[in-house]
Amino acid sequence: MPAYSEKVMDHFKNPRNVGEMPDADGIGHIGNPVCGDIMELYIKVKDNILTDVKFKTFGCGAAIATSSMITELVKGKSLDEALKISNRAVVQALDGLPPAKLHCSVLAEDALKSAIDDYLKKTTGKGLPGFKPHEEHPPK
């Protein structure tokens, strides 16, 4: 088991924004059971602002902590601002991740983009330009 930072453990023990959102405006679904990580991210959007974000995750400590952290980082932000938050920013906000767990942060970034993509498709008919989730997790 890798050594996690205090921040990771904090988010793992007390994950923020866990749960489903029946009236979500966009849903992101990333990962697969084979690799052992699945994230679902739900967003509520009003006037281009992410007014609420929730998640459900099947995965290890890092997968749960990165999901929790990304919801915190993007809640209240505009879609443009949220899209600028990279997996690296998530790792930084968690005071780092063990190298073998970095892929979890990519999963979190993809889950958010996938939710925004879903929202844009529903509202504008076109998805997030250039968005293509990594087919493999960890990305090759």
Binding site: V34, I38, K56, F58, C60, G61, I64, H137, P138
Partner: protein
């Protein structure tokens, strides 16, 4: 974290028995001689090594001169496979083993493949049991070694070693068994098992780390593992780890004395934990054979959640266990053992192994039965796979 921590990872390692610690104590600075020296300092150490060797031989019904000390189980397994393969390359190039062996067996087998040897992996059933019939069918005139573990370290299943031994004996093929999880836990008898080679590690039976042995039946053709000063009758060079050997000897002596008691203590605790977890948690699957299993092994898969997150939560409650989920490994592949018994990836990722020990109490089991269902519930509420 609760005040008293509960250690349920005895399959990983055990705490040294207090009598082992005191037996070893004089052998660091009082009786410190090199057993190869002819002066009295050396001879005192030699006597201690040989007395330990006798005790270890007695634990597995072997002869004293058939015990070769190694640095542990991994070395013993490497020694058996490479040593027999190299020494018998004129006879053949074929090794038979199983897909659920410890890495200390599978990796040397993979290595031998790179040198041109052929390796057959026998199938296992849903419990991880090897069929002796399959062993019989796999043997050819080029087969030099069969290696099947006595009991599996992850799922606890005990193999039909005696039946396999009859087959290899009849076929004239060497038979190795990794008994790292069974020595000191259940009876191990090299005669009844008809094994030619058998690996043991001291730290799994309340002895010290860094010491183990390979039993080598008299007459077995094997090349030395380390070439050096001729120790261990030229089979393993290196000055003997005297304190370790003394501790190993003491651990073996205690194991002989306490074997029945240990089994009688552990089996009811094991069965109560399995039953309790299955009663309190839905979609909880037992891995391994329900009865032909190690007395201390509780390996289960809890669907819809992942092993590491269960472990971290258990650790926060002061409970130490282990998982076959390899979310942190480079390949992200879960345990090869769980995949081999047919668990799909998603379920294999949700495995937990509790391995009990001689100090495990009824209260410890109560605590796990109280704490663990809450952990599963918490993680399932968080899981997108769990729909009530």
């Amino acid at each position: 974290m609760s005040e008293k921590r509960i250690y349920l990872d005895h399959a990983a390692t055990t705490p040294e028995h207090p009598e082992v610690v005191s037996a070893m104590a004089p052998y660091f600075s009082e009786i410190f001689g090199n057993p190869s020296s002819i002066h009295s300092f050396g001879q005192e150490a030699r006597a201690a090594v040989e007395s330990a060797r006798e005790k270890i031989a007695a634990l597995i019904n072997a002869k004293k001169e058939e015990i070769v000390f190694t640095s542990g189980g991994t070395e013993a397994d490497n020694f058996a496979i490479k040593g027999v393969a190299f020494a018998n390359s004129k006879k053949g190039d074929h090794i038979i083993t199983t897909p659920i062996e410890h890495h200390a067996v599978t990796e040397p087998c993979q290595f031998m493949k790179t040198l041109g040897y052929r390796v057959t992996y026998l199938p296992v059933d849903q419990y991880g049991t090897v069929s002796p019939e399959d062993v019989k069918k796999a043997i050819t005139d080029k087969t030099i070694l069969v290696s099947v573990m006595h009991a599996n370290n992850e799922i606890g299943t005990i193999q039909p070693i005696e039946e396999i031994g009859k087959i290899t004996k009849e076929a004239g093929v060497y038979f190795h068994s990794d008994a790292v999880q069974t020595a000191g836990a259940i009876p191990v008898d090299v005669e009844k098992m008809s094994v030619d080679l058998l690996s043991i590690s001291a730290h799994k039976l309340y002895g010290p780390k860094g010491i183990g042995c390979l039993y080598i039946r008299k007459g077995t053709k094997i090349v030395p593992f380390m070439h050096g000063g001729g120790q261990e009758k030229n089979r393993r060079g290196s000055t003997e780890n005297v304190p370790g050997i003394v501790g190993f000897g003491k651990a073996a002596e205690l194991a002989i004395k306490e074997l029945d008691e240990r089994q009688q203590h552990l089996i009811p605790l094991r069965d109560r934990l399995i039953k309790g977890l299955q009663e309190k948690i839905d979609n909880a699957l037992l891995n391994g054979h329900p009865t032909k299993r190690l007395p201390n092994n509780v390996s289960m898969c809890f669907e819809f959640i992942e092993g590491e997150s269960m472990l971290l939560n258990l650790d926060m409650e002061g409970i130490a266990a282990s998982t076959g989920s390899a979310c942190s490994s480079a390949t992200l592949e879960p345990s090869h053992v769980l995949l081999s018994i047919g668990r799909p990836h998603a379920i294999a990722h949700g495995s937990i192994r509790f391995s009990l020990g001689r100090m495990t109490t009824d209260r410890d089991i109560d605590t796990v039965l109280d704490v663990f269902p809450k952990i599963v519930d918490k993680l399932r509420k968080m899981s997108p796979l769990y729909k009530k």
